[in-house]
Amino acid sequence: MAAPCRHVGHHIKRNGRFLRINLDQLFASRGLRWTSALQQQGEEVHEESKEPIVIPRKKSWSSEAVLEALASTVHRDPTAYPYQFQDDPYLSPRTSSEFKLFSLSQESGRAAAKYFVSNNPKFFTKDFAEPHIPCLMPESVTLRLEEVSEEALKERITLRKVSAAVEMYDQLLQAGTSVSMETTQELLDLICLYCDKNPVQEGAPEVEDAEEAGEETKRRKPKGRRAADHLRTSWKENNNAERIFNLLPEKDSRCYSALIRGMVKHGAYSKAFSLYTDLLNNRLSADVHTFNALISAVPDVRDKFNERWDLITELLNQMNEQKVRPNLLTFNSVLKALRRCGFLAKTYAPQTLNEMKALGIAPSLATYDHILAVFYKSGSSGPNNTDIIQDMLTELEGTSFTCRDPHDVYFFSSAMRICLDSKDLELGYKVHSLVEVGDNWRLLGDSYQQSVYYGRFFSLLCMMEHIDVVLKWYSRIIPSLYYPNPQGMRDLLQALDTDGRLDLLPTIWKDIKTLGHDNKVDLVEELLSLMAREEHSPEVQESFAACALDVKSVFDGRSSMEWSTSSLSHVTTLLLRANKLQQAWDMLLLFKAKNRVPSEVLLNNFLSVCQSSGAPKRAVELVQLAAAFCLPATPVLAKTALAEFQLTDEQRSILSEFEAAPEKETE
């Protein structure tokens, strides 16, 4: 049997080459047939399905298309720092204040560099870039045209030098040169926008003037820096804008528009309305921006809700008469004004939304935010009817938004507030899934808004969700997106307590330390009381004791933190449960040093641990300590110690003294 087999093997070996060639041939011919068959099949398909072939249009890609595609492949790494800090390991924020500090210093460093380059162009004359990159070269920020001419005025306007521009305009008028209408309009725009004050150049060093400096720091604050800037500057009677406006021989609607917008922006609401009447008397028509400004000013010029709404409808009707098409901002300002119209709002806000939709204007997030604000008052408690927000989220599901109104960034945090108020977890997830669509996360706003949003989301999770899911979210958003405040950490502790996962407390303590909340005494105390509340398995007790020692070292390191009796006794209890007698004894000494009195239960505990670990000397010392505190329990302790410990005579005599002492006193 074997021989023929071997024979066959040899045969194969010998013919191996021949075989391979044949195989190749076979394969090649097969391939050919396969393609021809495919073609035939394809033809059949074409015969049977008579669908016309639509030749696709040529696609035009934006120049960032490749980069966008690449960027979409990179997902967020929850363990990494935000990208802007990855360059410099020294700038790795661990707390929210560090985050704020680092990002602001990064920004202001850039601004300062730009300021320096722009103000000292003579040092930056060499152009290394090939081809030329304009934004790397110094911008011209200083005036070059010195002579009195319209060109010089235009230069001052483009450089936004308000006072210099006004000066130049006056000089031009005195010289009798007429300034073209367009330049005048631009000048008025400039003055009205900045309320007759020079805007602060970005990155400029802080001025010595106290008031100015205050304004500067205010401006630097991330939250509403612009608003803060402009609220301080109020429209003054007969300022340059009004003066120039009054001097104009003929006024067109754009001049009116500039003034009205400036007045509304800088708080001169009733003046704006009187100017608007003036405009109407001159038989001019206002533009959409003027109307938007006026509508947003309505709540400030009328007191009663009815009057407010009547004025708004009047303005809208005038818009329609003047054939002005409203835009998104028109309706957003109507809704914003409606927020201050009390009971009327609930009737008219939906109607406004329907009007928008009828006109084909897509609502922005700000629109929805206003409507939510109308229907959900922040103060109200108890179970809200969440139908409206439910419907809204269903409608918005999966939509990607771009910012079209500065108010857009408030939507997500207020929607999450409603979820938190109504304790609706599913709704919260819906809101969050909307945040995760496309670039919607950009609409969470600046870091402050973002932390508000995530804070609400996290508290909602802690309140309603199972602890495992909470911890999953915890690792996902903390600290890469959100630095929780002490309240957030307390929520987490409560969630851990509710679901009985107290064994995780030492890890949470580490996070608390990293987040810089270890100086919040009440938070630390809550942690300690949770740990000391009940007994756990020896391993857990061991880790708790280590954690307690860590807490102790934090207390020791900070003079600002005061030991309270409860936290001292919690730490001692934890150490006793882990049989760390020496450290527990140190804690007892700390009681004395801090003038706190240990409880009787604690001392009894200590004594029993002494007994179980066979430390009679420590027991005697304990009784002595108790006596030093003048505790009423001293005789009982002494009696127990005498009864249960193997003592030397000397120790015995000491103890019996304590045992008898109070009796003597009572006698």
């Binding site: 066959v8 098409r325 939906p350």
Partner: protein
Amino acid sequence: MHRLLSRTVVAARNRSLCVYECCVLPAKIDNVSRPFTGVGANTISTCTVRRCEKKDDAIPSNQGEATNVDTETKTTQLQEELLEANDGGSTQQQRNVKAEQVLSKPSQVKTDGAKSGKKSLLDLLGAMKVEVTSKRKLKNLKTKQSFESAVQYKSKSGAMESTISMFQKANVQDSAQSEVLDPDLVAAASAAASTLPNRSRAESELLKQLRQRKTLTEAQKKGDINNLGVLIADMKVGKTGRQNAWPADQIRFDDDGQGYTRDRGITSELANVRKRRNIFPTKRLNIFSPTTDEQRGDSALAKPTLWDMDFANELSLTTNQMPRNGFEEMIQWTKEGKLWHYPINNEIGLENEASVPFNEHVFLEKHLEEGFPRQGPVRHFMELVVAGLSRNPYLTVQQKKEHISWFRDYFHQKEEVLNEADVYLN
């Protein structure tokens, strides 16, 4: 598409390998190699896959004796099996004839083989026959043949009953390809049934089977066509063929890599209910008329005012514009103009020449119209120059023109010399 193709090709290659080994190795197995020459090799390949699967790697390397033994036993097994199946030698021959007839479209057989590689041997034979006979022009011939073969088998002994049923099935299958109402077929089926003991029942079963087969094959055919349509659409036209590919209630796979879309259960249904209902009553303010005027255009055309710039600035300040990764930062830099543009087509960096059409670059003869002779060596030289220039991608059109005009000046300067040499410019 590619994956599918390559998979089938690989499968085919393996199979052919096995077949070839089966044919070449033991010279004794005449039964195998003889009836299945040519396309026959293709068809039998489908049957032998299963048997030769394990040998795939062992045989070509040609290692020890053990392998050889294994091979031989297996091949003999195969041989026996085939012999059993080939008991009715005449039918086999007939089929062979048919196979040769179908030689023009053998790949169909192959694709079928690829599909049914895991079926049992008997099923394979049947299916193979179906495929073979699926050609319309052969329909009549084939049905008759199979009918005959079936009849032949019926006349055989009871020991062959399993084989008979198999061929009945094959018969049924092949006739299923044609119209159910084809009288020939019905006749064939009834004839086949007449040889069985329970005649009427067998006939109705056969016809039922016919109809079932027909619907099945139709469905499969359509499915194939759909697949192919999708493939073609993917290649050229777009995703037109896919729209109704998924039934609404099926779990769908998310394109964006999130995995399976979550089943949201009853809440999603509620949401759908809600979607139909409007949030608020449809009443509106009725101030504006919903006419779409063209007035929107003029605001866009107007130069952005200071207010517009301020508004845009405010928008960018309120949103979070921080880049999340290096690519987003690069996008930012590209927008600021700090970064070289990533090429999105092969005309990137053509800023200077973007408005110049290609013919300006390539057809330069028109610049020879004036200042150069119509014929002669100068003309010949200049044509060569122009031909060279038209292929030069590195010069701008302006530079090319300058180049030509330099020659024009040059030849005019040397006019005397040229005249002496009897070469005239005009």
